[in-house]
């Protein structure tokens, strides 16, 4: 077995429930902690868990899941570079919790309960229930990031989460190469646009 195949095998060995928990924890880190290095690291981890969820969709083509993970990591890299540029422009990195932490905890708990109940009550066509929870959870994080933040980087992560949720859902319906490829292009473009806007904010 090649190292690549071993790695893929190990990744697909992680259960969907574990991956969903991973998604939740990494999303919570991005939502609660205002420190960019940690946030990018959490996003990095989040893409790994998204990749695990994709292994359930692309059962016969695990390399597609790997591609999704790599694209996500590329976007993380672009975001990291932008944040570095922003930091050299004057913003010093330091760990602190979000200013409205109680509100964020409450909103995350409420939305997670809603996501869980929605995944139990409504069945997404062609999507298994545990995968549906991951899908809905990603959409919930997207709404929270877009709604609660003004920072281009975090709002951008919300947009990327929304795209990941759509990608998971749509790939389960139509796992064709063309749609997958186009969604990858959209992801890359969004990642680049967010990185650019993060820097543009500083320049002005």
């Amino acid at each position: 077995m090649t190292p690549f195949a071993v790695w893929l095998d190990r990744i697909s060995g992680v259960t969907t429930t574990t991956a969903v928990w991973g998604l939740f924890l990494s999303g919570a880190v991005i939502y609660f902690i205002v420190e960019w290095r940690l946030r990018v690291l959490a996003l990095f981890a989040q893409y790994l868990f998204i990749g695990v969820l994709f292994t359930r969709v692309f059962v016969d083509r695990p390399e597609m899941s790997l591609l999704k993970v790599l694209v996500g990591w590329l976007v993380c890299g672009a975001l990291f570079l932008s944040v570095r540029i922003r930091q050299t422009a004057g913003e010093r990195p330091h760990f602190h919790w979000a200013a409205d932490l109680p509100f964020r905890i409450l909103s995350l708990v409420m939305m997670t309960v809603v996501a869980y109940l929605a995944s139990q009550r409504y069945t997404l066509p062609f999507v298994p229930q545990d995968l549906a929870l991951g899908c809905i959870l990603l959409a919930v994080f997207a709404l929270l990031f877009i709604g609660a933040e003004e920072d281009a980087g975090v709002v951008g992560v919300g947009v990327l989460n929304l795209l990941a949720a759509l990608d998971l859902f749509y790939s389960a319906q139509d796992p064709g190469l063309v749609v997958t490829g186009m969604l990858i292009m959209v992801n890359l473009l969004v990642g680049l646009a967010i990185s650019y806007l993060t820097v543009a904010e500083v320049r002005t």
């Binding site: 951008g156 749609v179 806007l197």
Partner: protein, 477 residues
């Protein structure tokens, strides 16, 4: 060597865009290469009949020849020709307008690449790819939006709203395909209609999703904003028509007319009220565009071919009116170091008369008042709406009047002679006040003014084109 039409129409602008990215330092080359490529595509699509062949030094382009990409057919159809012409000609004109305002800009390569993606969107058969390509093109246009300074909030909002619309568009196609298999399941059709309605409401900036329109127009660079409000919005409009053409039963639902009429009227009223209350010219442009978008949806809500033709006429009129407003707004902003509020622009007409005239005439045209092509389109819309519901027509007219009120208030400010103020109340100092307007910009303004007036006097030229376009969409009686 024979090349399929879609490959040529897609490939040439993309290849030129890549070259332009390298040549960005030389603005004049960038502008003319971008404008010539876009105009060349438009001319080719106008002069060459669909079944025709164009040969140049051993290279043969067959316009109607399909291109197969991974089993998916990409083909230029007769109905697409009008859309492609609109995209390329508008892009070419906007590249020329942006010439003096955006030196060394990304706008020229990115605008050309976005135009290629938008045109490609209409050549693919399945609407899901159309939606994805439209979203990709829209994301590309975010890059040059904040090059000339200003907060990046507009670009971010546009990006967020565009991506928010994508799930609805993609899921709608799934539901409609399912409905084709299970035609008795009315629930599928209802859900698809709601999703489609919400997605397009987001893309058109309908209430309550209008915040991106005002954010973009107040923060963004005016030439790029004009591109966004003409080429991007035009593409979204044709995307909506593509859905109706592919799934004709969508437009045959009982709620269709009421949905679009209500949405259009709400957009018009909200845009009109907000435009009348604006103190910033950039936002005024955004809300006037919201009213125009609402007028297009109102025309669609009539459920008639005439309504579709009027909406197309409104779309054709928009590049002229918004182009003028852009030239004027950019000139006025340069005068005040980027500010566009009433306080900073008091008496600006005496320092930048041509920019002021361009902004005001463009505004009057966008509000749909004479003498402009917009007036012909709006008048037709009021008449056709009054035939079924007089009150709706009056509401639409009132909204246009509210935009006009915003323009008149701005005119009063621009024409007021500035009085000496204490230092504490004075507007922030301009970075480099321009005392003389750029001659080339003045020439462009005069040319655009003449074209706007000419089309106002002789709207038949454009209305024939609009009717020709509407005839390709046969989902209305």
């Amino acid at each position: 060597m024979t090349i399929a039409g879609p490959l040529f129409v897609l490939g040439v602008p993309l290849a030129v865009a890549a070259v332009l990215q390298i040549l960005r330092r030389w603005t004049i080359i960038s502008v003319f290469l971008a404008a010539l490529t876009a105009a060349g595509m438009g001319v080719l699509l106008t002069l060459l009949p669909l079944g025709g062949v164009w040969t140049f030094r051993g290279l043969t382009v067959e316009l109607a020849r399909p291109l197969v990409v991974m089993g998916r057919v990409v083909q230029i159809e007769a109905a697409d020709i009008f859309v492609l012409r609109y995209i390329f000609f508008t892009a070419a004109a906007l590249f020329l307008l942006a010439w003096r305002f955006l030196p060394h800009s990304n706008f020229f390569p990115v605008g050309l690449a976005a135009a290629a993606l938008f045109s490609g969107a209409f050549m693919v058969e399945q609407v899901v790819y159309t939606a994805l390509l439209v979203v990709m093109g829209a994301i590309l246009t975010v890059f040059p939006l904040h090059e000339s300074g200003g907060a990046a909030k507009g670009g971010l909002r546009y990006l967020v709203y565009t991506v928010l619309a994508l799930p609805g568009l993609m899921v709608t196609q799934l539901l409609l395909d399912l409905f084709m298999v299970f035609p008795n399941d009315q629930g599928l059709l209802n859900t698809a209609t709601v999703l489609l309605g919400v997605s397009f409401a987001i893309l058109f900036g309908a209430v309550p999703f209008q915040s991106w329109l005002s954010a973009v127009s107040s923060d963004g660079s005016p030439p790029v904003v004009t591109y966004l409000f003409t080429v991007n919005t035009g593409t979204v409009w044709f995307l909506l028509l593509a859905y109706f053409r592919n799934y004709p039963w969508l437009s045959q639902q009982a709620a269709f007319g009421t949905l679009f009429t209500t949405l259009g009227l709400v957009m018009m009223v909200t845009g009109g009220v907000l435009a009348a209350a604006q103190q910033r010219l950039g936002r005024l442009v955004g809300y006037a565009t919201l009213v125009d978008n609402g007028a297009m949806l109102l025309a669609l809500g009539t459920g008639r071919m005439e309504g579709l033709a009027l909406a197309a006429l409104l779309l054709l009129a928009r590049p002229f009116s918004l182009g003028l407003m852009t030239l004027g707004l950019q000139g006025l902003r340069q005068l005040t170091g980027g500010l566009d509020d009433h306080l900073a622009l008091e008496g600006a007409a005496f320092r930048a008369p041509w920019s002021t005239m361009a902004f005001l005439v463009g505004g009057i045209a966008l509000a749909g008042f004479p003498l402009s092509l917009g007036f012909a389109a709006r008048w037709g819309l009021y008449r056709i709406t009054a035939m079924t519901n007089f009150a709706n027509a009056m509401v639409a007219l009132g909204s246009a009047a509210a935009v006009m009120l915003g323009i008149v208030i701005s005119m009063r400010v621009l024409l007021t002679r500035p009085v000496a103020r204490p230092a504490s109340e004075a507007p922030p100092p301009a970075s480099a006040p321009i005392l003389k307007e750029d001659r080339l910009v003045v020439v462009l303004i005069v040319a655009l003014l003449l074209v706007t007036l000419a089309l106002g006097f002789f709207p038949r030229v454009a209305s024939n084109l609009a009717v020709e376009m509407a005839q390709w969409y046969t989902f209305f009686p």
